[in-house]
Symmetry: C2
Subunit: 389 residues, 2 copies
C-alpha cells in the first residue's frame, strides 16, 4: 500500500518529520555545551592564535574519540587533504584516483600537489568508490614497474586512491584496501563528512595511512572553519606537524625552514570551539541517527523515492540525510528542489560530477555510469542534530 509520490505529499512528508515551521537549514550547528566557557577562556588569556592549549587538547580529544593515534588540527578539511596527499608522496605529474561524485575540494587538493585527478565510479550501496569495478579497471589500464603503478595510456604514475565517505557513509574499505595493496596505491580517506562513522566497528580514517576530516560550519561538529589530519603513523604525524607550521625548524629564536611548508595550523580560538563540540558528539550522533530513522520510516511506504540507509558493514553518522528518486521519477528532482527551497526547507542535489566541471573535463576517467545515474537522483534533506531530539 504505497502512498502516491508527488510534490505536495513530498513536502508534507518532510514537514511531518521536521515538525518546525519557518526556515529549516540543511545542517546547522548546535552549541549546547562549554562553547562559551572555552572561547571566553581564550579571550581572557589572550591565546587566540596557533600556539595555545586548546589546539593540543582538541587533537587529544579527537585521538581519544576516533581511536586513531595522531590528530593534527588544521585550518580546514581541504588543507588536511592537501597535506595527506603531500605526505603520501603525490608529486607533479602523478595521477590520483578520485571518485567522480564528491565535493570539489577532493579533486582540488590533488591539483594543489601538481597532480592529475583520475575519476572513478561509485557503487550503489555506499555512494562511494566501488572496489570491484576499480579492480577490473586497473587490470585493464594499469601496469606495475619497480613497485610503482603506471597508467599504461598516459604513462604517468598512479600514486593513490582517495576514498570519500559520501554524506558520512563509509566506503567498503576492506576490499578497497586489497585493491590498493595489489596495485601499490596509497589509500587516503577523505573523511570530511564522516567523523563518528564506523566501518566494521573501527572508526573510519584508520584504514588509509592518512585521512582528513572537516569541522566546517555544516559538519557534524564545527570549529567555525577547521579540519584535521588523522594517522596511526608517528613519523607521518611528525612530518604533518612540521609541514603545517611553515616547516620551521625548532629553535629558541632562529627562523630556519627546511622545506616549502604551509600556514595551516588551526587557531586556538577555533580549537576551543572544537573542544566543546566534540564533548557533545555522542549526543549529536544519537540525534542524527534518530532523525534518519524517522525519515526512513516516513518514506518507507512511498512509491518512487527511497531513503538511503547505511551499508550493512557500517554504522554511519548520517551527516546528510539522503533520498534517492526512482529512475522513472528522476525528472522531478529540480521541481522538488525548487519547491522545498521556496518553502524554506533547505534541500540540495549531490555535487555536479567532477568530470563535468570545466577544469576537470579532460582528466582521465573510467566508465562512470553509476555516478552519472545516481548524480541525477539524489536529494539531501535537512539533517541538523537538533531536529532529531
Amino acid at each position: 500500500m504505497s502512498a502516491k509520490f508527488d510534490i505536495f505529499n513530498f513536502i508534507s512528508l518532510l514537514k511531518s518529520v521536521l515538525k518546525e515551521d519557518g526556515k529549516i537549514p540543511l545542517h546547522e550547528p548546535l552549541f549546547a555545551g562549554k562553547e562559551w566557557k572555552y572561547v571566553k577562556d581564550c579571550l581572557d588569556t589572550g591565546w587566540v592564535s596557533s600556539a595555545g592549549k586548546y589546539v593540543n587538547e582538541f587533537d587529544f580529544k579527537l585521538e581519544q574519540y576516533t581511536g586513531i593515534k595522531h590528530s593534527i588540527a588544521v585550518v580546514n578539511g581541504t588543507a588536511a587533504l592537501h597535506i595527506c596527499l603531500k605526505l603520501a608522496g603525490v608529486r607533479q605529474g602523478d595521477e590520483v584516483l578520485v571518485p567522480a561524485l564528491t565535493f570539489v575540494a577532493t579533486a582540488n587538493a590533488v591539483v594543489y600537489c601538481g597532480a592529475i585527478p583520475h575519476f572513478i565510479d561509485i557503487e550503489v550501496k555506499s555512494l562511494g568508490v566501488d572496489p570491484v569495478k576499480l579492480y577490473d579497471y586497473l587490470k585493464e589500464i594499469a601496469v606495475i614497474k619497480n613497485d610503482i603503478c603506471f597508467n599504461k595510456q598516459t604513462m604517468r604514475p598512479i600514486k593513490a586512491v582517495i576514498a570519500m565517505h559520501t554524506f558520512g557513509h563509509p566506503v567498503d574499505l576492506e576490499p578497497l584496501l586489497e585493491v590498493c595493496k595489489k596495485y601499490k596505491l596509497e589509500l587516503i580517506e577523505d573523511a570530511a563528512e564522516a567523523l563518528g562513522s564506523y566501518y566494521k566497528n573501527r572508526h573510519v580514517g584508520s584504514y588509509g595511512r592518512l585521512s582528513a576530516v572537516s569541522f566546517n560550519g555544516n559538519k557534524i561538529i564545527t570549529t567555525g572553519g577547521g579540519g584535521a589530519i588523522l594517522t596511526n603513523d608517528t613519523e607521518l604525524a611528525k612530518m604533518a606537524r612540521h609541514l603545517i607550521t611553515t616547516a620551521k625548524v625548532p629553535h629558541p629564536w632562529a627562523f630556519i625552514h627546511d622545506q616549502v611548508g604551509y600556514n595551516y595550523r588551526m587557531p586556538n580560538i577555533n580549537a576551543a570551539l572544537g573542544c566543546a563540540q566534540i564533548e557533545q558528539i555522542d549526543r549529536f550522533i544519537a540525534n542524527k541517527r534518530a532523525l534518519a530513522e524517522k525519515y526512513c520510516k516516513t518514506f518507507s511506504n512511498v512509491h518512487g523515492i527511497r531513503f538511503f540507509t547505511e551499508p550493512e558493514y557500517a554504522r554511519s553518522n548520517y551527516w546528510l540525510n539522503t533520498l534517492i528518486i526512482d529512475e522513472e521519477y528522476k525528472e522531478m528532482r529540480d521541481l522538488l528542489l525548487s519547491e522545498t527551497n521556496k518553502q524554506g526547507i533547505s534541500t540540495r542535489p549531490s555535487w555536479e560530477l567532477m568530470n563535468k566541471l570545466e577544469m576537470y573535463k579532460d582528466c582521465p576517467r573510467m566508465d562512470l555510469s553509476i555516478a552519472e545515474n545516481l548524480g541525477q537522483r539524489i536529494i539531501n534533506i535537512p539533517s541538523s542534530a537538533y531536529l532529531g531530539e
Copy 2:
C-alpha cells in the same frame, strides 16, 4: 657622552622601558573592546562559519580604515598573498622578485603558484626592497618582449615584485612603482605586518594593484588566524571572492565550480574578533608609537647599537621594534638574544635570508650584500601595544 654598550646595560635599558617583571612576549594581543560581545553573538546565533555577517562587517571596517575599496578576508596572510599572485597572473615557470629578507611565507606563496622566487636586495632606510638597486639590476638581466619582462639568463618571464613592508615600515613605493612600470612588472604589497602604516599619507596596500595583510596572533590586530586581500580594482575583488570560495558559481542549490579554487574564506567567529580589534586600532598604534619613542630615546645615547626609526616618507605602525647593532659589535647578537630570552624578555633576530634556506638556495638572486649585512645585526624587542600605555 655615550653609555657603554654591553650585555648588562643592554638588558637594564630594555627593562627601564618595559617596566614589567616576569615573562615579556615579543608581541601579544590586547582584548579590551567588544571581542566577547561579538564572539558571543556568533555562538548565540549559531553563525560561526564562513557565511555570516561579521565577515562582511570586518571587510567593510578594513575598507573604511585603509581607504582601499575592497577587502576580502581570508584564513591567513599566506592565503591572501597566494591569491594576490594568482590574480596577478603568476603561473608555472614564471619568476617573481622577492626580498631576501622576509618571512618565509612570501617566497612560499610564489612556489604555491608553481613559480620561482628570484631574490633581491633591501635598503638600509626601509629594510625593504631597494628600488634603485633593483632598477640597475633589471637593466642588466632583463629584457622586454611583447610587453613581457624576461630574465635573459633563465629566459623565464618575470611577472611581479613583492614589496614586503618589514616590521611595518613601508618600502619606498613611488620609485618602486616607476621601476615596475618600466619593466612591466606587477607590484604586489606584502603588507602582512603593516596594517596602520602609511606611505606619504596614503595607507600601504594601495600602491600595488593587489596586497595582502595578516591578522595572526602576533600582528597589530588579530583574528586568531586570518588575513585579507586588499585592492582598489572591483573586477579583481570579484575574482578574489570567487577564488577563495572554491570558485563556486552562484546558484540556489547546484554545486558547479568553474575553475580550481581554494577554501580560504575567513570563518565568521574569527571575523567577529577582527571587528572588535579593528575598532581599537588607533589606540593600539598610538601606544605602539609611544613605545617606539621610549625605546628610541633610551637607546639614543648608547654607543654600538641604534633604534630603527620609520623612513622620512612614512608613518609606520612600528609593528616590531627593531635595534640594529653596529658592525663592530655584531658578534654580540647571539649573546644578546640568548641572555634576554633566558631572562624572560622575548627578542629575536630577523629571519634567515631566503637564499640561505635549503629549498631556495639555488634560486636566482642579485647581489644581496645589504640584506646579508643587516641580517646579522637586527634584533627585535618586545612590542605589544599595552607596553606603550
